[in-house]
């Protein structure tokens, strides 16, 4: 028998399972890119072709910085997982189209090198690279990061001089500082916000397209509903029940204006759901979403400023602890609380 076996060629062996799904990091990132692209098209339509130039700059510089880092540190080339492209896209979506061209390069450098690659690359970063890049630019160059109050369409390479841009006219500011005559937000303005016919950063303006992207990601099972819904739900709940001074309770238009304005939707759907920097447990994801919602509203009410990105960045830092306290109960395992009760009874 043994002799016979020697004659036969030995077959391959491996432990089960022998089949695998076709998902990979690359396909997941590709799905996110597909969900993000309509926003870029809309950005180009509403702000002019300069939006495209800014986006291309951030995407290319993100990829090149990651590639350079891989080459210099002599590590495996990781740019093909497309995560740098997603970071580049998200970073540019958070920038005004009027930004000087060299700034996005700096933002991409900060996002990719110190925030992501120095900590060990994709999967190891603590905070969302794109948001960190944006925060870096916002703190360093606040005037250049200011969104022009009126819609300005610009050519591919047209430079823009901020001049004496008045803040307080983008829809978010209208929402956050109600008119002195007490008139509430008009439904026309709300509709414009929903469609995206307003001023803002490149990718944040169209609520409709962001929600469509969310739907696509849900259908492709790339993201779960937990974070976006708990995040938006918390913001909706607070703005409905505890609106800012001068606004009546249960003002649905006010609540919707909060949801559709600023970078909230973009942050809730694409930033807060970033796998690496969000909890992995379903319960943890809900806690994370609620935390993001709370912080966003607090910043909006108290500072009169968009708080979504800082809210997400803050919650990013708490992910480790949220994961620790929300370990799911294994199937068939006793509830830890019940155990304590049972133990305490005999005493």
């Amino acid at each position: 028998m043994n002799e016979e076996r020697k004659e036969n060629t030995l077959l391959q062996v491996s432990s089960a399972p022998h089949i695998r799904s076709h998902d990979s990091t690359q396909t997941v990132m590709l799905d996110v890119i597909i969900a993000l692209l309509p926003l870029l098209l809309w950005g180009c339509y509403i702000f002019g072709m300069r939006a495209l130039t800014v986006t291309l700059i951030t995407v290319f510089s993100s990829v090149i910085f990651e590639l350079l880092f891989n080459l210099i540190t002599k590590k495996t080339i990781t740019v093909l997982d497309l995560s740098a492209v997603v970071t580049g896209l998200l970073l540019s979506y958070n920038l005004p189209h009027t930004i000087p061209f060299w700034m996005p390069v700096l933002g991409a450098f900060f996002a990719i090198v110190p925030v992501k690659m120095l900590l060990g690359g994709l999967g190891k970063n603590l905070v969302n690279p794109a948001l960190a890049g944006r925060a870096c630019l916002l703190l360093s160059f606040s005037s250049a990061m200011t969104v022009p109050p009126v819609l300005t369409r610009l050519d591919l390479f047209e430079s823009y001089l901020p001049g004496d841009a008045l803040s307080g006219s983008t829809p978010l500011y209208t929402v956050l500082s109600p008119a002195e005559d007490g008139s509430s937000i008009s439904t026309e303005l709300l509709f414009d916000m929903f469609i995206g016919n307003e001023s803002g950063t490149i990718g944040e303006v169209s609520a409709l397209l962001i929600l469509l992207g969310f739907l696509y990601l849900l259908l492709r099972k790339v993201v779960s509903w937990h974070i976006p819904l708990s995040y938006l739900g918390t913001v909706a709940f607070i703005t409905l029940l505890f609106p800012a001074e001068g606004v009546e309770r249960f003002d649905v238009v006010y609540m919707l204006a909060h949801l559709f304005s600023g970078g909230l939707l973009l942050a809730a759907v694409f930033m807060a759901t970033d796998y690496v920097t969000s909890p992995i447990t379903p319960k943890g994801r809900i806690i994370f979403g609620i935390g993001c919602g709370l912080l966003t509203v607090i910043v909006r009410y108290c500072a009169g400023n968009e708080g979504a990105s800082y809210a997400v960045l803050t919650m990013n830092l708490l992910v480790y602890f949220i994961d620790k306290i929300t370990v799911p109960r294994p199937f068939g395992a006793a509830l830890p609380k019940l155990k304590i009760k049972k133990e305490s009874k005999p005493q």
């Binding site: 028998m1 016979e4 076996r5 036969n8 030995l10 077959l11 391959q12 062996v13 491996s14 432990s15 089960a16 399972p17 022998h18 089949i19 695998r20 799904s21 998902d23 990979s24 990091t25 396909t27 997941v28 990781t78 997982d81 995560s83 060990g120 690359g121 994709l122 999967g123 190891k124 779960s224 796998y275 690496v276 969000s278 909890p279 992995i280 447990t281 379903p282 994801r285 370990v327 799911p328 109960r329 294994p330 199937f331 068939g332 395992a333 006793a334």
Partner: protein, 467 residues
Amino acid sequence: MAFTFKGGIHPDEQKNTRRTPIVPITPPGSVCIPMSQHIGICCEPCVKIGDLVDKGQIIGKVTEGLGCPVHASISGKVTKIEDMIWSKEHSVTAVTIENDFECRVSPSVKPYCGDIRTLGTEEIIDRVRNAGIAGLGGATFPTYAKIANAVGRIKGLIINCAECEPYITANHRLLLEHPEKVVGGIKILLKAFSLRTAVMAIENNKKDAVKAVAALPFDPEMIRICVLKTKYPQGDERQLIYALTGKEIPTGKLPVDVGYVVFNAETCAAIYTAFATGMPLTERIVTVDGDCVGSPGSVLVPLGTPISELLEYCQTDSSKIAKIIVGGPMMGKAVWSKDTPITKGSSAVLAFSEKALKSQMKKQTACIRCGKCLAACPMHLMPKEIYRAYIKGDLSKCKTLLAQSCVECGSCTYVCPAGLDLSQAIVSAKTKLRPKRVVSEAKPLAVDENSEKPLCDHTSKTQQEEK
């Protein structure tokens, strides 16, 4: 709404052989029958080289403890009794019988002649034990022991026809072609447990099987058919009981402890055969599929038939074969030799070419914390965390994360976009965490199909002897 459980995956079903009728294989020239095809103690061969044996004749006796006798699956002459390599560390005695093509049936094979209505529990257990029946779903736990253990302790009998693994259609074809055998077996089991109703669990990709069973003339009170949502690993006892009753089996406990017992459909048919014709378990239905197989289908195979003969029968291009899996692609075992015999636990033989294997290859990248493994785990564990702890060598953390309750279904590895070998690491952690002194009888019931545990447990024996 269909019954289901939380977690799990839905791989490509690949039930290519669902419409191919079961055909008996042309009798093989020789069979090589291992003395241990079940969980428990190895049998002792009770024939000598040169003996003439009949089909159904006992050739391996249970000497002590838990075990199933082994029978000759063809008539012929015993030519060899020797050890064969069975797994990485273990060998098992195997009896080779050369076929004389006379199809003599042993005189010990007699149908049950008493009245089936007055059958006693002891009588049923006795006949099932003598027929050498083990769980045919793949776990191969001795059926008599399962019955004996559950008598008087259960309130529900569940018949598992989920067949959630891709490719396998053995149970499906059995239900379509011989539903009366399965129902007959269920009647006997109901008698053994003095129960009135059994629940038959069938996944909703086998609606025709539901119809075939429902068309039989039996009391609808006796068998309730439950249609389950098609999902893997629905056929796992824990998930099946949860899907049907909403009850969770506590960690480390058996289905019996929550009042249920689960039998595979083919096992029921084998019990029926043991009573109707008296023929012990000498053959089983094997699904043969994979991209190398020319005419895939379900084949009725005598136990001990070498896989090579089975593949040849199904017109397989053997030069292309790179990997043979015995069992389903999710939990099946890859074998290194085409001479490996079909045993009681082999529900399928899948032959894949190099090309097909390459399409399943995935490059390993870093974990991106997507949480898909958590969502897929039917036991609600944290595969990613256990994997990390195991790679670091932190076994105590694996233990606190309950790595031992892993059912080895492989769902986490299947979904992982980073291509990490999650379940492989968890299974290794589980093996290392297993108490050193394993007494075969204490082994959990058919929880993990095709578990890595070798069929013949020599380690436990030697360790006991040492003590």
